[in-house]
């Protein structure tokens, strides 16, 4: 985080659905190597922001760049430069670990030797080698999660989006997963993550809290806790949103 080079830039990013304002002039920057947590109630607009940053949904107004590419005009390049993993891991349950990786490698137009090389590296990093010929559906949940992460990392994207990546896994698998995420960030990857586990927000370098389409707070977890005099992000979140609700 020393050189502070932005990996994601959003400027007055806005999205309407009919008369409903889902995202309302949201601006922020996420820097290379940063773990950025994106928090908010269900329906606050988080998913709409992510879909715009991934080039899946055009903004109604404002602009954004992901990995240096414009979300309006360079959608194809964005897809090649981001990884995406969601709580509902999109894995092929009837394919083995190896076959899932080969399939995703094909999607990203990787050559066989590239897939092979990347696979070795990921297997080592994520300790998946023992499961190479296991069907995805037979994997323990924690390892399913690692396989989903491997598929999202296969094409070596500089920016990684994680949408509630640890729902349901046991606490040890969750810790291990965050250890991996931290080492990915140390290697320079930018991580954009949404979660409802407020403890996880504390793993992030910075967090933004969204409410009704707007960012209502954005800072390091430490600063947010100090400012609202709370000891946990759980309390920070609840008090911030309650404050918003009384003001509106």
């Amino acid at each position: 985080m020393n050189q502070r080079k932005p990996a994601i830039v959003a400027e007055h990013l806005t999205r309407r659905f009919g008369t409903f304002l889902a995202v309302d002039r949201v601006s922020f920057r996420v820097y290379e190597g940063e773990i950025f947590g994106f928090l908010g109630a269900n329906g606050a607009g988080k998913t709409t922001v992510i879909r715009m940053l991934c080039g899946l949904l055009a903004p109604s107004d404002g602009n954004a760049w992901t990995a240096g590419f414009n979300v309006r005009t360079q959608v194809e390049q964005i897809k090649q430069h981001i990884g995406y993993m969601s709580q509902k891991f999109s894995l092929y349950e009837d394919l083995t670990v190896r076959e899932n990786l080969a399939f995703y490698g094909g999607l990203y137009h990787l050559r066989r030797d590239q897939i092979q090389q990347k696979k070795q590296q990921l297997f080592q990093q994520l300790e998946l080698a023992a499961f190479e010929t296991t069907l995805a559906r037979d994997l323990p949940l924690g390892f399913k999660q690692r396989l989903a992460l491997s598929c999202a990392l296969l094409h070596d994207p500089p920016v990684l989006f994680l949408d509630e990546p640890t729902s349901g896994v046991d606490p040890r698998a969750r810790r291990d997963f965050w250890g991996l995420i931290q080492s990915l960030a140390r290697s320079g990857k930018t991580i954009f993550v949404t979660t409802h586990f407020m403890e996880e927000a504390e793993y992030c370098h910075r967090v933004a809290i969204m409410h009704e389409g707007k960012i209502v707070a954005m800072d390091t977890p430490e600063t947010l806790k100090a400012r609202s005099r709370k000891s946990s992000m759980q309390q920070v979140f609840v008090s911030l949103i309650q404050q918003q609700l009384t003001e509106s």
Binding site: V169, D170, H196, P221
Partner: protein
């Protein structure tokens, strides 16, 4: 806290309950007593067996072995009578999207044969805690997720059940809505209903009178949240460092360290013997001033879960 002593008869009694699915042992000998007026939390990750246990309690699944009784009624033989005093909210609840809020409530009142003479009063009581009355004419499909959830809960409560069982009602729900939902469960308990609720969120243990930590088909601990936390056998410290990652490795290599876990922006380090100030001074030096600060902490339910999990695997 409600009465839950040895001299009260349990309202739910589970003895040596077992259930297998093919080669998978979903429930591996569960023994549990739940007492009237308790909020009991079943806590564990996906695949621990929470839903299987709940489905057996709700008479939706037959046990392979063991005995399960609700209010002295057997889940295998007394299905009809159990359903009269049991409220159940499954993980994926079903409401009729085209019916309004009030039509859904009336529909469930019909299903559970709530007498017309008390029906309106019951619906009013449910509006009181759900605060859904202003939306009573809105079609259910147009409700927010939080409101749908409160309506599903109201439908499960329409026949004033003595026991309410909820399967992960707060999963995927934001922290504020989760807090409101727990507030409602406390009100329901005040009204005399015993509540059994499952959750994957360890921090919700504190909302319950007693909790059972579930892992791989077994209840590994059953106690009050406070006593669960006190079970942690090692002195535990929260340690902040320049570089949490490097610091973790540093502690992993110390002989007097039992375990090191990442915990948000810091580490939780459990020692086999309590460290003294000179230890910290020494570690400051040997870690090249990596340690920013440290503080002794009480173990969280999650720390205990991790510890017990490792003992069971």
């Amino acid at each position: 806290m409600m009465a839950s002593g040895e001299n009260t008869l349990p309202i739910i009694e589970i003895q040596q309950l077992k259930k297998r699915f093919g080669t998978i042992t979903a429930l591996d000998g569960i023994d549990l007593h739940i007492y009237p007026g308790e909020i009991f939390g079943l806590i564990g990750p996906d695949g621990a067996g929470k839903t299987t246990l709940i489905r057996i309690l709700c008479t939706l699944l037959l046990p392979d072995a063991g005995r399960v009784q609700l209010l002295q009624h057997d889940v295998v033989h007394d299905v009809q009578s159990i359903r009269r005093f049991l409220g159940y909210m499954p993980q994926r609840f079903s409401l009729y999207p085209d019916l309004t809020v009030e039509q859904n409530l009336n529909f469930f009142a019909d299903l559970f044969q709530v007498p017309p003479s008390i029906r309106q009063q019951r619906i009013q009581q449910l509006y009181h805690f759900s605060r859904l009355e202003p939306f009573k004419n809105r079609p259910t499909r147009a409700l927010s997720g939080g409101m749908k959830q409160k309506l599903a809960l109201s439908c499960a409560m329409i026949h004033t059940p003595k026991i309410l069982i909820l399967d992960e009602p707060t999963t995927g729900v934001d922290p504020l809505s989760r807090q409101e939902f727990w507030h409602i469960l406390h009100q329901i308990r005040e009204g005399g209903t015993t509540v059994l609720v499952s959750t994957p969120y360890m921090e919700e243990a504190d909302q319950c009178d007693r909790v059972g930590l579930m892992y791989r088909g077994k209840l590994i601990v059953v106690d009050t949240p406070q006593r669960v936390r006190q079970r942690f056998p090692y002195p535990l410290y929260r340690v902040w460092g320049q570089d949490t990652y490097a610091l973790r490795e540093f502690f992993q290599n110390l002989e007097t360290v039992h375990s090191v876990h990442l915990f948000g922006d810091a580490l939780h380090v459990a020692f086999t013997q309590p460290p003294v100030p000179s230890d910290w001074k020494h570690w400051q030096l040997t870690s090249h001033q990596q340690i920013i600060r440290w503080q002794p902490i009480e173990a969280s339910v999650e720390d205990v879960f991790l510890e017990m999990m490792e003992a069971h695997s």
